[in-house]
């Protein structure tokens, strides 16, 4: 058996999950309370997993770095959540959602995982409504839907432009119920700094209390990571400021394979960067592309205000290039088209890095009131940030880093190659291939937490009864000492540059050399510059204060240290994947009209990287992707 055994059940695609559930091991209710499970992260995946596992009777400890689990960055998701309910009677089905997701991911995800995701998508909506999530409704009281990119059906459920918030508050309320019941113990303002392996199994974590600085050990029968993505390796992204790669990267250093780290999603509709003081980028939901038309001037350097550019001199480039999907082309394609227009000198705004998202036609057709009802909060947010009124003048948008499809490698059970280490949500690599479709992140986070992990965790746990080590075990003591040593090392450098200055420099480098377009040349440059930046960091960073206090510079320093190693892994993966697919666009591999050119012969696989020690080149493993139910076609949205 290869080390990358995906454990996909045999049998027809639509029966695999049923078969798996029947064949998986059960744990009797009296024994469940003898198990302890650690869940790191309290976003959609973490909170739903902790709540559901607690409800089943396991003793759960849940950790998050925020002051409350309700603040995890899932809360910021705007547009919606997909589900194959077919409530609109427009031809949707489990199979269509499955196919759209596989195709949207440019044929780089596992069939069986994606099919299961589409199957449980319908249960998620039922579950959330039962919890009181106030999804948008029609006047008759039925649930409303809208369309999202990469789909020709309306299968997206939403709660104003705040769907992530409402789904997370639902999961948070389920979590609260379990905290009150005593089955989940919550540790807010606590950051995981290491994974502890005992006899090769994940049996605990090392954490730092962010208020007192105390570093401590927690043992469990297994560890579940739901710690989100690594978009902040770019410094500027739509992620929250605290989002980081530390939990997954430190697990990687302990042996967990990192899969497809180069698959990052650049979202087409974000507010453009306005200056180098900027700390984050703000997304304007994809749902806006239902009613907004994307365009750039036809003439280079046209600096007239948008209203003065006549219709005949505008290039509605998505409608022109992709007539059947138009403004709802998938994210990777839309982002690249915007970049093309700007590279061509037709970008708008002060920086020239922007295109228009214009609502004038929709306002004329539907009235301002309807547009306000649909997107009012987004227009308000746009006005707060830019000072411009998008009812009167088109929004300016530009692509920005938004989501990471790569993550720790997991099998069908969502277990990594380390026994006992499970990885959920954005933190794993499993379902979105090389490009995620809009409104699918929320679906995956909740699918993993509510409906997958509760069934798959049993196979690992059942034979582990009574094997939980104590935190006195030497492996815990060693990991604790290593963690403290790294903290002291950071504090002792006392150099001349702030942590943020290193993070900005790394981010800019990653954006320029491993961003929307990559080449052998750019990646080679990145791979030579990152190690020297990392070296400078360890000699010249200035982290003031002590460990035994609230120290935000110290928290950031640990995360940036990991980004400085992880960035290199990302570039290496991008270099080795000699094809273009989804969000990974290698300039050398494109069709004559500039579309991504896949190489199914050599790259229809998952690249999973094994850590080989500091300073050594990580080892690349490949898990072949076998397509039995879909035909690998060239993705076309024309």
């Amino acid at each position: 058996m290869s080390v990358l055994d995906s454990k996909i059940p045999s049998g027809p695609l639509d029966k695999k999950w049923e078969k798996f559930k029947f064949e998986s091991k059960l744990i009797n209710p009296a024994n469940k309370r003898k198990y302890e499970v650690i869940v790191v992260g309290s976003g959609l995946a973490g909170a739903s997993a902790a709540a559901t596992l607690g409800e089943l009777g396991f003793k759960v400890k849940c950790f998050c770095y925020q002051d409350s689990p309700r603040r995890a960055h899932s809360i910021a998701a705007q547009g919606g959540i997909n589900a194959a309910k077919n409530y609109q009677n427009d031809g949707d089905s489990v199979h269509r959602l499955f196919y759209d997701t596989i195709k949207g991911g440019d044929f780089r995800s596992r069939e069986a995982n994606v099919y299961r995701l589409a199957q449980v998508s319908t249960n998620i909506i039922d579950q959330c409504v039962a919890q009181g999530v106030p999804f948008a409704r029609e006047y008759g009281g039925l649930l409303a839907n809208r369309s999202f990119g990469g789909a020709q059906v309306s299968r997206t459920f939403y709660a104003r432009g705040q769907t992530g918030q409402q789904l997370l508050l639902g999961a948070y309320s389920a979590l609260n119920r379990q905290i009150a019941a005593g089955s989940v113990q919550m540790f807010p303002r606590t950051e995981m700094l290491d994974l502890v392996l005992v006899d090769g199994h994940a049996k605990g974590i090392i954490v730092r209390n962010m208020v007192t600085g105390a570093v401590s050990s927690h043992a469990a029968d297994c560890v579940v990571l739901a710690t989100g993505g690594y978009g902040n390796v770019f410094y500027l992204s739509t992620n929250a400021k605290g989002c980081n790669v530390t939990a997954t990267y430190r697990a990687h250093r302990k042996g967990a394979y990192f899969a497809n780290p180069c698959f990052t999603q650049i979202h087409p509709t974000c507010i453009p960067v306005s200056g180098d003081y900027q700390s984050k980028l703000t997304l304007m939901s994809e749902s806006l592309r239902n009613d907004g038309r994307v365009w750039a001037p036809k003439t280079k350097g046209d600096k007239r205000p948008p209203q003065q550019i006549p219709e005949s001199e505008r290039d509605y480039f998505l409608e022109r290039k992709y007539p059947s999907f138009g403004n709802l082309a998938p994210r990777d394609i839309s982002s690249r088209s915007a970049k093309e227009a700007c590279d061509d000198g037709r970008g708008v705004g002060e920086s020239g890095l922007g295109v228009y998202l214009d609502f004038a036609d929709s306002i004329k057709r539907l009235g301002e009131k309807t547009i306000r009802e649909r997107y009012g909060n987004l227009f308000e947010m746009y006005e707060q940030i830019t000072g411009e009124d998008a009812y009167k003048t088109p929004m300016r948008i530009f692509p920005a880093v938004h989501y990471t499809m790569g993550g720790l490698w997991v099998d069908y059970e969502l277990q990594s190659n380390i026994p006992g280490l499970f990885v959920l949500g954005e933190a794993n690599f499993s379902d979105h291939g090389a490009n995620r479709l809009g409104a699918s992140a929320l679906m995956q986070g909740l699918a993993d937490g509510y409906f997958v992990i509760p069934y798959t965790i049993g196979n690992y746990l059942a034979p582990q009864l009574g094997k939980r080590p104590s935190t006195d075990h030497p492996e815990f003591k060693k990991a604790e000492a290593d963690t403290l040593a790294q903290i002291q090392r950071l504090l002792a450098i006392k150099g001349r540059r702030t942590v943020d200055s290193f993070h900005r420099e790394l981010g800019l480098l990653m954006w320029d050399l491993c961003g929307m377009a990559r080449s052998e040349k750019s990646l080679g440059r990145a791979l030579s510059r990152i190690p020297s930046l990392r070296e400078e960091f360890w000699q010249n960073v200035n982290v003031l204060g002590a460990n035994e206090e609230i120290n935000q510079a110290l928290e950031k320093a640990g995360r940036v240290a990991d980004f400085l190693e992880f960035g290199e892994l990302m570039c290496l993966d991008a270099l080795e994947r000699r094809e273009s697919c989804g969000g990974h666009f290698r300039e050398e591999f494109q069709t004559p009209d500039g579309e991504a050119l896949r190489d199914d012969q050599n790259f229809a696989h998952v690249a999973a990287w094994e850590y080989a020690g500091a300073g050594n080149r990580p080892v690349r493993h490949a898990e072949a992707l076998n397509y039995e139910n879909v035909h690998l076609s060239t993705r076309s949205y024309k």
Binding site: E55, Q66, D67, S68, P69, R70, R71, H73, I75, A76, K85, N123, I125, D126, Q127, V129, A130, Q131, G132, P134, F135, R137, E138, Y139, G141, Q162, Q165, Q166, L169, Y172, S173, N176, R177, A180, P188, A240, K241, G242, S274, G275, Y277, Q278, S279, K280, T282, M381, I385, G387, Y450, F451, P454, T498, D500, S501, L544, E549, I550, N551, Q552, A553
Partner: protein
């Protein structure tokens, strides 16, 4: 782009038990398109370069939804425009202005360091009953319950609360009625929330009192500062629900 030079007077306090005080700093060359928190970032970079520890403040999403940022700016929670601090932009300030920056002040929100406060009392109120019991996997089809649009909209309006605590900091009594009212209105308006309605209302209100939040005496400051536009009607709804629940409890 215009740049501003400002004086900021910032509350510095080493930890929960230390004494704190206002310290004056110069914030120079602040772009007017920067957010308030980006102004603090710039100031923090300048402080750290001079060897002075950065000002600690809570923040995360920086797009107005996570509710982690706080700060009282010139005495107003989240500052002059009714948004979160992270969505407040420096173009709202004048060159040469002096700005007072303090943590949210309330008995139930102890200061942890500088501008950071402990709002975990909010979590404990919700743990007391701010949920609908819906065991995972037991739900019926989502369209089996018809919810009239007005009810769904009313629930959504209340559910938009981001849990930042500005309502408490703005209230002279340190009351959390807007926050608890929002949660109760959200769940008590929906058909799914009816079975536990009384129990939920009583449990949350009692926990709110036990956590040291004050009473509502109709100052309406909470509504004025709320970045999520939670309407005051949630408080009257909470009062009605509480009375009904208390009566029903005493009858039983």
């Amino acid at each position: 782009m215009k740049h501003l030079n400002l004086k900021v007077k910032v509350w510095r306090q080493k930890n929960a038990s230390a004494e704190g005080g206002l310290v004056e700093y110069e914030a120079r060359n602040i772009p007017e398109d920067a957010s308030f928190l980006e102004m603090l970032d710039i100031l923090n970079e300048q402080l750290q370069e001079k060897g002075e520890p950065a000002i600690a403040f809570d923040h995360d999403c920086r797009e107005g939804i996570c509710g982690m940022c706080s700060l009282s700016i010139n005495g107003i929670p989240h500052g002059p425009s009714a948004t979160t601090t992270c969505q407040l932009y420096m173009r709202h300030f004048k060159d040469g202005e002096t700005i007072f920056i303090e943590p949210f002040r309330a008995r139930a929100f102890p200061v942890l360091r500088d501008l950071m406060v402990d709002r975990s009392a909010f979590d404990r109120i919700q743990q007391a009953g701010g949920y609908i019991t819906a065991r995972t996997g037991s739900a019926q089809d989502a369209n089996a319950i018809l919810i009239p649009k007005p009810a769904a909209d009313k629930a959504m309006e209340a559910a938009a609360c981001i849990g930042c605590g500005a309502c408490v900091a703005a209230c002279p009594n340190g009351s959390a009625m807007l926050f608890v009212g929002a949660k109760a209105t959200h769940l008590n308006t929906l058909p799914q929330g009816q079975p536990e309605r009384n129990q939920r209302t009583l449990a949350m209100v009692r926990k709110m009192d036990a956590e040291g939040f004050g009473n509502c005496s109709n100052h309406y400051e909470c509504e004025a500062v709320c970045p999520a536009n939670i309407p005051l009607t949630v408080i009257s709804q909470l009062n009605r629900d509480f009375v009904k629940a208390a009566v029903s409890e005493s009858v039983q």
